[in-house]
């Protein structure tokens, strides 16, 4: 069965600093991998996704993520964080054999000016 771990519950960074949010997954084959962002009172917005091919994926809002099969990881990165990036970030995993996504517990990002 698939599972997702986001080890960091809460991360605080200064505006302009770089960011890396960690995500580890468990799945026997190559999964579908996603990052979603949730601002307070809002729904979940898709940042980026990985199915196959190039392991470095570019998303919206300047985010990117890298799939590393050897580490079962799909970490989200941004070179320079903006105050508007403060939100909750969810990693999710899917698979061809199922119709559902399994979400991690989320990482809350706080940005200081």
């Amino acid at each position: 069965a698939q599972s997702v771990t986001q080890p960091d519950i809460h991360i605080t960074v200064s505006e302009g600093a770089s960011l890396e949010l960690r995500c580890n997954y468990s799945y026997g084959a190559t999964p579908y991998l996603f990052w979603y962002v949730q601002s307070p009172g809002q729904g979940l917005q898709l940042l980026l996704k990985y199915f196959s091919g190039d392991t470095l994926v570019q998303g919206i809002k300047g985010f990117e993520a890298e799939f590393k099969r050897s580490q079962s990881s799909f970490n989200l990165r941004k070179p320079s964080v903006h105050w508007s990036d403060a939100a909750e970030y969810f990693c999710a995993v899917g698979a061809p054999s199922t119709d559902k996504l399994i979400f991690g517990t989320g990482t809350r990002l706080q940005v200081f000016p």
Partner: protein
């Protein structure tokens, strides 16, 4: 940009009452989903719906839950007899071609059972 619309944004109901949560998916999408997020917990899959039938459901989605696409544009989640533990944010999502392509989520309906 097309969006998934959910109504109401917040619903309070008495325990034991029936509730219907409504969603209007993106018009050319074929796959529809309900997820829920209990406060402070992770987002959980409830059900997926394709070609006018349930394609997959979780163990949470018991006989108290049902989904329907009554008119080709709306997608509803009914909880027949609500319990306190049904209090959660319920998210509707739709996808053009299945979960592998990524969903578009609505803003959610916060259900409070008292």
């Amino acid at each position: 940009e097309p969006e998934v619309t959910q109504t109401p944004s917040h619903q309070v109901t008495q325990m034991g009452q029936e509730v219907i949560l409504r969603c209007v998916p993106i018009s050319n999408h074929l796959y529809f989903y309900w997820y829920r997020q209990i406060l402070g917990q992770k987002v959980e899959f409830l059900v997926s719906f394709y070609n006018n039938e349930i394609s997959e459901k979780s163990e949470i989605f018991d006989d108290q839950f049902s989904v329907e696409r009554p008119d080709g544009s709306n997608f509803t989640l009914k909880i027949r007899s609500t319990k306190l533990e049904d209090s959660a944010m319920y998210f509707c999502a739709s996808s053009e071609a299945g979960q592998g392509y990524g969903y578009t989520f609505g803003s959610g309906t916060r259900l409070t059972v008292v």
